[in-house]
């Protein structure tokens, strides 16, 4: 074992981002040789150290215990890098933030009183300082590897914050919005996935969250031109990054502008 000591932590999440680490199949041996991974419960290592050079954090903060634990992780970490939509924006579980948590609890669990949870799901950066964020639901393997190799070579960590549209054009994809009239969040969504969904003919679901420069009112007008209703737009915005500030502000405003269901049209 050599290289910086690393811990990978899980908070409220589906483990998909941790699995993306393990999905680096061809590179796993090289990763294991380059990083001294001491804590990664998903894969086995469970050494609690006083200090890790790098902590990778998956998941959002949803319990009082989480709040304490992320502070402890922060105190033990040199660099703290968050992985994925839960850790960077609260994840899909942040839909609770605008719902009645008691109703959710009793709808889902037979014994809701056994459940100890906060009313909100919040990103890691709402609680401790975060040094770098990898977006996505889940994160992209390419961005993870680019981040690790940049750290090892002491290079700036390369994140492209421009829109998914750039990745579509680099790939030579047809624009599903302009050419097919498909609802697509690509123009407002942060790059990183190499335009995965549009490359397969689907509209972007926005799982990398808002790009560096977001104009949701402009996108709403564009959706109007292809007969995509506010209802569909709100549904698209309220998924993995529902509590990302730009998405949340716009979806709340569009919802307030019209009663749910009245303009519903299938995308």
């Amino acid at each position: 074992m050599s290289g910086p000591t690393v811990a990978i932590w899980k908070f409220a999440s589906c483990d998909g981002c941790q699995l993306t680490v393990l999905d680096c199949e061809d590179e796993l041996l090289a990763i294991a040789a380059a990083l001294d991974i001491r804590m990664f419960l998903e894969a086995g290592p469970a050494q609690m150290l006083d200090h890790y050079d790098i902590s990778l954090v998956e998941g959002s903060i949803t319990t009082a215990h989480d709040v304490e634990r992320i502070r402890d992780v922060r105190a033990r970490s040199g660099l703290l890098i968050t992985l994925g939509a839960c850790a960077t924006a609260g994840g899909i579980q942040a839909l609770r933030n605008t719902a009645d948590i008691d109703a959710c609890r009793s709808n889902v669990y037979a014994r809701p009183e056994w459940l100890d949870t906060l009313a909100t799901s919040t990103p890691i950066a709402a609680h401790v300082q975060v040094d770098h964020e990898l977006r996505g639901c889940p994160i992209a393997k390419t961005e993870l590897l680019a981040t690790i190799t940049a750290l090892l070579a002491q290079r700036r960590m390369p994140i492209s914050a421009y829109s998914v549209c750039v990745e579509c054009k680099l790939a030579g994809n047809p624009c599903v919005l302009v050419a097919h009239g498909t609802a697509c969040l690509g123009p407002v969504t942060h790059a990183g996935c190499a335009a995965l969904c549009p490359s397969l003919g689907r509209g972007c679901f926005g799982c990398f969250g808002p790009s560096e420069s977001v104009n949701l009112d402009g996108l709403r007008s564009a959706f109007g031109e292809i007969d995509v209703s506010d209802d569909v737009l709100v549904h698209l915005l309220r998924t993995f990054n529902t509590e990302a500030p730009e998405f949340s502000e716009a979806s709340n405003r569009y919802r307030a502008a019209g009663p749910e269901g009245t303009t519903r049209r299938d995308p």
Partner: protein
Amino acid sequence: MSSDAVILDPRSGMQALIDALDTAGYRVLGPVLRDGVIVYDDVVSESAMPTGVRVEQGAGRWRVFQDARPERFSWTPGADSWKRFVFPARSEVLRIRRTDGSWTTGQPAAPDRPLALLGARDCEVRALGVLDTVMLGPNHPDARYAQRRADAFVVAVTCGEPSSTCWCTSMGGGPQPHDGFDLRITELSDHAGHRLLVQPGSDRGEQIMAVLPGSDAHNADIDSAAHVVQRSVDRLPVRLPGAELPALLAGSELHPHWDDVAARCLSCSNCTMVCPTCFCSSFSDHTSLDNDEAFRTQEWASCFQLDHSYLGGRPVRATTAQRYRQWLTHKLQTWTAQMGTTGCVGCGRCTTWCPAGIDIIEEARAVIGSQMVAARLQPVDVYVHPR
């Protein structure tokens, strides 16, 4: 009789042209209809190329219609341009490797076959010329681009079906290319039948033409081609005074209309990505996990990206209004002084492929139309460091 032009069958003659270029050692690229859009890709068989395809284009809108008609070039180009092949969207420019303590440097191999670009419209031929002035300019000539361009065989096509977003005649072009090609095809369909008129534009074009199974063209064919050109010209009204744009847009930096555009602009970079003359790129470095190999890549970039104007710890053009103004005025105004050509060929891609349907012509008109307002404003972008 006109012995410097031949008539080809639209199907077997097209195949003969592809075969002749292939035999001459070219990688033949041509139009292909894929997922509802025209893209350029390798073509081996003429049957892979569109037949009876028509395109309806508008601001932020592209639709394809297929019918039983036999026309080969009734479509207008899509988002794809030949730029993708002479200036790839992503390419590796350098790779270094450490073995036994010493470094070896490798340059990526040049493409193995020169390119043949089959089906370039006048706007596209002129776009390649504009790109040449940038990429082959005296200060920083790009050797790989130079190689691809010098070797490229251009088969131009007269535009018989311009789309509603086309405005080449405003920017010094027209439906028919006059230079910058090796062969030029004009598709004819009249009482004498459906056929392709092929004319050479270079020595190597003549050499390829000599092996094509065509008959000599007659004066009636030349007249018919002139009719095709005129019909297209009639459908291409001059929408902006191209040559006067640098003067008309001068002093518009603080025009209030830029904020109006910014309310609609998504800052998504699509206009610049589809523009056949946009040349910005960025370089990034990559290393292997064992730190024994490094490589550098070049990738298309855009003035709509915040990183593009990142200087001294902040983006110089932080607002969408500033970035849209930069894009439009570079294309239509400042490019001329910088490069000696116009930056825009009037192909209309930026308008069609803008998800928000922003029409560059309408925005330029709005700014020019109220220059009296703009003339009273002072130049801008003076950076004041926040205290």
